[in-house]
């Protein structure tokens, strides 16, 4: 690791100010610190977001629940359970206890790893990403592998989730990292079903419109029969071919529907 400065602001305003001159945000550090240890990143100054009360916690809002940007996965798994069990269950499946007690929702969706779990929930719920400057709809936020709509120095302060009638996440783990080899998040709202798939595509998390239409008509595993995704844009690596991932999209979506009940 190269040496670096660490700033620990107590307010969002101080954090924004500290980030203004090229510093980098540090949340749970579960992605950033390993890259720094390998000397693949040399941020110079880190601005910790975990000591800012405004960025912490799970609460009920007007149109669903609001999760502070620096809320660890373990807190979401525990405290979102009574409002949005499907989301809490997803948070509880991320990594291991150490990762869940450190890693945060803001860090996860800012990083937008193509195999991460949260992006599926955020996109699959049609959530809204709140930053220090604006609100961004999930559909406009995820721009591809490790790419988001965030500007330089922009901070995810919260994520607002509308709460569906039913929802579930089905994750098939990559055997080594236990990130999602393919994960499917399905959410049934009064006005239709959303399906988001993570882990599979070279373009990162995506929605599956055909499955959404079929499930909106009938929220049953059978409704997905015959639906397939093309393997063209799927990730192919040591852990699975593009065809395998395309196939798993169908299987995991079906299992998510079954789990949602």
């Amino acid at each position: 690791m190269h040496s670096f400065e660490l700033v620990k602001p107590k307010t969002l305003a101080d954090a924004v100010a500290a980030l203004a001159d090229g510093a980098q945000a540090l949340s749970g550090g579960q992605t950033l610190l390993p890259t720094m240890k390998q000397r693949l990143a040399d941020p110079g100054t880190l601005v910790s977001l975990t000591g800012i009360p405004e960025l912490q916690g799970v609460c009920q809002g007007d149109a669903g629940i609001i999760i502070g940007g620096a809320t660890p996965h373990a807190v979401v798994a525990r405290e979102a359970a009574k409002y949005y069990p499907g989301l809490a269950a997803l948070a509880g499946q991320i990594g291991d206890p150490a990762v869940r007690n450190r890693g945060t929702i803001g860090g996860s969706i800012a990083n937008n790893d193509p195999s991460a779990c949260y992006p599926a929930a955020v996109l699959g719920s049609g959530a809204t990403i709140v930053t220090n400057t604006r609100e961004i709809a999930a559909d406009d936020y995820f721009l591809g592998m490790f790419e988001t709509a965030l500007e330089e120095g922009e901070i995810v302060t919260a994520v607002k989730f509308p709460v569906p009638q039913k929802a579930a996440y089905a994750k098939f783990v990559q055997p080594a990292s236990r990130f999602a080899l393919v994960g499917a998040f399905v959410a049934q709202f009064a006005d239709g079903v959303r399906v988001a798939i993570t882990g599979a595509s070279n373009n990162g998390v995506f929605r599956w419109p055909e499955a959404e239409a079929a499930l909106s008509a009938s929220f049953t595993p059978e409704a997905l029969k015959g639906l397939t995704l093309p393997a063209d844009d799927m990730i192919a690596d040591l852990h699975g071919s593009a065809e395998y991932r395309a196939h798993l999209c169908g299987v995991m979506t079906k299992r998510a529907v079954m789990a949602a009940g």
Partner: protein, 791 residues
């Protein structure tokens, strides 16, 4: 009922208290005054010519003390291969020099070519980035078949080939085996790979070197399974100094699995640097360095054939293997695919004719060497997979085909067609025990229940044998070993009756400190708490060969009991004097020396005291003191064997395999501590399940390691393994060592992989996917799914 703390008692491991409370003392816990830190520069290309290394800028950086390169070590000896193997045509193997640091050429990603020494580790790392290495990348040799076929692209130009040797075992049997195949009513053929593994000991390799300019003595603290072997290799072969000028200390070591048997260049590099700088120098590997530079395991590509009668009687077995040795010959790398593999190809069976051919191949990958089981897992996997396929082709039951061909108890001692003599065994007994414990009779009901949940259930068996307790020196000498494989112990009875045992074995997780103490306590009739086991320091222990090949108890333990026998013999002499009796009338029992038929007796403690305070002592005929050393060279290998059953559930939609049950019935000879033996079996089977389902080392065609971290290299986790059923009640004690023990450290890793893969294939067949005859390890979800859908 075993005595408390005696032989057969499940005494809790005394060393665990210090390990679990953070009081273990590992190499990195040791810090010497004024120590500097080393960081190694490692090749980023698999094959490259070093045109020059410019360290000027690095040397000018803060804290930097020195930058050493391959040129600084060019005058030193090579790190040798421990076994000389001859090719079928009588030619000796090709043995290119393995230098301390790469010089002229780098030969695998991770090959160290320079070392930066600085005041702090961070400074060394920072400076390493400023070292300018001009290296021209050359095309990499990665695939073994291609390496053999293409003699224009060589890992070592000076040997003119990528083949190390082409070995036949036993060459004289080749023609007879060929003839048997020609005439056989049925022949089963299978091509398979034994996947390459990274050992991944929990503690990475580490070394701390110290040099005393006053005496010229070197001291090396290092992660070693065998400190004397390290001393021998470093002093006599590489650095060229008298052995008595080097002390090697292997303190607590966090696992080895083979990878810490070997001498690696980093050790000689820090020793030399300590002398050059006249300061202690420490190096601790980062996990990524372990992936790149620890000796890997397995990596065989094999074609195996079994000739049988129509009803499944084995007539002959033949295999052709390519074994990867990587870029350099690591110390055991030539023995592992040959004498630890070819000699095991008879398995526990009556197969009358066996022929094994092994070609070892240099590639631009990390060196490959012995890893838990070493050669025997490869042999067992080939045999147990071909038997499984044969049974399926002939429509025979998996247990029946084995039972029909297993050696029977009346056949021992049995000379195999591949040169070993099995002293004893009862393979039917372990098979019966496993059948009962695994409830094979109830399998169909369990399968039906799994099917209701949409899962394909399968059953896989493996009846395995191994040769361990390595090894009779005269025999391995004939086979090409350049070392002896005896072991040694010194038993020092202190004046107040407590005991220090200095053993040549090294414990890096096995629990020797507990078990060895139990054995001495039992022999001497004293509490185990009075016995302390000392290991790992060449300045304290007698010359021993260390721990690997399930040899600690069978070889070093035997030396220890022999030394205790000498203590008892001397004690009798002292007692005879004190009790004014004839030595022949002295009996030793339960810690007391007594005159037969009388109530005259002296306790062990009294005898010890009198040996050190020899006031009433036969000084004219007997030396004072009570300390004895014994060296023990085994008369034969030991042959643990067992029968394993694995049940899996396959999810046909995803290809995911879950181990539903795993049962082991093992014959380890006499068992000294059942709890520790269970632990060894659990760990070994866990590693075997890891190999079978998860672990894979993958290089791309440029020789880049694709699985260089735990993000891509899948280790088994607790929830990947089931609750095991383990039994070791069907014991046939080893006939040629004093404890009757056979060794249990590698068994699980040897017997389990074929049981798992056989179970997966069985599940697929029962589920109607009868076109799948084999899946290479690791049997990952993606591979299972692809196999199911390969029609």
């Amino acid at each position: 009922m075993p005595k408390d703390g005696g032989i057969g008692d499940s005494t809790k491991r005394r060393e665990d208290i210090r390990f679990l409370t953070g009081k273990g003392r590992y190499t990195d816990d040791i810090n010497l005054r004024g120590q500097a830190y080393a960081y190694f520069l490692r090749s980023e290309v698999a094959n490259g010519r070093i045109n020059g290394i410019d360290a000027k800028a690095a040397l000018a950086m803060p804290g930097v003390l020195a930058v050493l390169t391959g040129a600084d070590f060019a005058g030193m000896g090579g790190n040798p291969a421990g076994w000389l193997i001859n090719s079928r045509n009588g030619e000796p193997m090709k043995e290119p020099k393995r230098p301390v640091l790469a010089h002229g050429k780098v030969r695998h990603v991770g090959d160290a070519y320079a070392v930066v020494i600085a005041e702090t580790y961070q400074q060394a790392r920072d400076a390493a980035a400023a070292v300018e290495a001009d290296i021209t990348e050359l095309p990499a040799v990665v695939d073994m078949a291609q390496a053999l076929a293409d003699s224009t692209n060589l890992v070592h130009d000076e040997i003119g080939t990528n083949q190390c040797f082409d070995w036949g075992w036993i060459e004289d049997n080749r023609a007879a085996v060929e003839e048997a195949f020609k005439n056989a009513p049925h022949v089963t053929t299978l091509e398979l790979t034994n996947n390459r593994l990274v050992p991944n000991a929990m503690e990475p390799r580490a070394s701390l070197a110290d040099y005393d300019a006053g005496t010229g003595d070197y001291k090396l603290y290092t992660t070693s399974q065998n400190p004397h072997l390290h001393r021998l290799l470093i002093a006599a072969f590489v650095m060229g100094m008298p052995e008595n000028k080097l002390t090697v200390i292997a303190p607590d070591v966090g696992g080895g699995f083979g990878s810490k048997i070997y001498h690696y260049g980093e050790e000689a590099a820090v020793l030399h640097a300590a002398k050059v700088l006249n300061r202690p120098v420490k190096w601790v590997a980062e996990r990524s360095e372990s992936f790149l530079s620890d000796a890997h395991g397995r990596d065989h590509v094999t074609k195996i054939e079994l000739a049988t009668t129509k009803d499944g009687q084995f007539l002959a077995l033949r295999s052709e293997t390519m074994a990867n040795v990587g870029a350099y010959l690591s110390n055991f790398s030539t023995a592992t695919p040959t004498f630890l593999h070819g000699t095991l190809m008879a398995g526990p069976y009556k197969t009358p004719l066996v022929y094994v051919n092994v070609k070892t191949v240099f590639t631009n990958t990390a060196p490959v060497d012995a890893y838990r089981g070493a050669g025997r897992p490869e042999a067992t996997f080939s045999i147990e997979r071909i038997i499984d396929k044969c049974a399926r082709e002939l429509g025979l039951d998996q247990a029946e085909i084995r039972r029909k061909n297993l050696l029977t108890p009346d056949q021992f001692p049995y000379t195999t067609p591949v040169g070993l003599v099995y002293d004893t065994g009862n393979y039917q007994a372990t098979l019966d025990k496993m059948t009962e414990l695994a409830d094979l009779a109830g399998f169909e009901a369990r399968r039906a229940e799994s099917a209701k949940r949409g899962k394909l259930r399968g059953l896989g068996l493996s009846t395995w044998i191994e040769a361990c307790g390595i090894a009779p020196s005269n025999l391995v000498g004939v086979l090409g070993a350049r070392v002896g494989l005896f072991d040694a112990a010194t038993v020092r009875v202190n004046a107040t009756g407590n005991i220090s045992v200095m053993t040549g074995a090294h414990s890096h997780g096995q629990g020797h400190e507990t078990v060895f103490a139990q054995i001495v306590a039992e022999q001497l009739g004293i509490p185990a708490t009075s016995v302390e086991i000392v290991h790992g320091d060449t300045s304290k222990i007698p010359f021993g060969m260390g721990s690997y090949g399930s040899r600690s108890l069978a070889v070093a333990g035997s030396a220890m009991t022999k030394a205790v026998d000498k203590i008892i013999a001397k004690g009798k002499k002292i007692a005879a004097h004190m009790l004014e009796a004839s030595e022949d009338d002295i009996e030793f029992k339960d810690g007391n020396f007594s005159v037969a038929g009388t109530d005259k007796a002296k306790s062990f403690g009294e005898i010890a005291f009198s040996a050190y305070v020899p006031h009433n002592y036969p000084l004219e005929s007997l030396e004072p003191g009570l300390e004895e050393t014994a060296f023990y060279d085994p008369g034969n290998f030991t042959y643990p064997a067992g029968a394993y059953a694995c049940e899996v559930e396959v999810d046909p939609d995803t290809g995911k395999v879950e181990i539903a049950a795993f049962t082991c019935a093992d014959d380890f000879g006499n068992v000294m501590n059942p709890m520790i033996v269970n632990g060894q079996v659990h760990g070994g089977v866990g590693q075997g399940i890891g190999q079978a389902l998860l672990e894979n080392t993958s290089y791309d065609e440029n020789g880049q390691l694709l699985t260089g971290s735990f993000m891509d290299y899948a280790m088994p986790r607790a929830d990947d393994v089931p609750f095991y059923k383990v039994d070791h009640s069907c014991n046939t004690p080893c006939t040629h060592n004093p404890l009757g023990v056979k060794g249990c450290g590698e068994a699980g890793a040897i017997g389990s992989p074929p049981a798992v893969v056989n179970a997966v294939i069985d599940a697929l067949h029962r589920g109607g996917h009868t076109h799948v005859s084999h899946i290479n390890m690791p049997v990952s979800p993606a591979r299972v799914w692809a196999a199911i859908n390969s029609k």
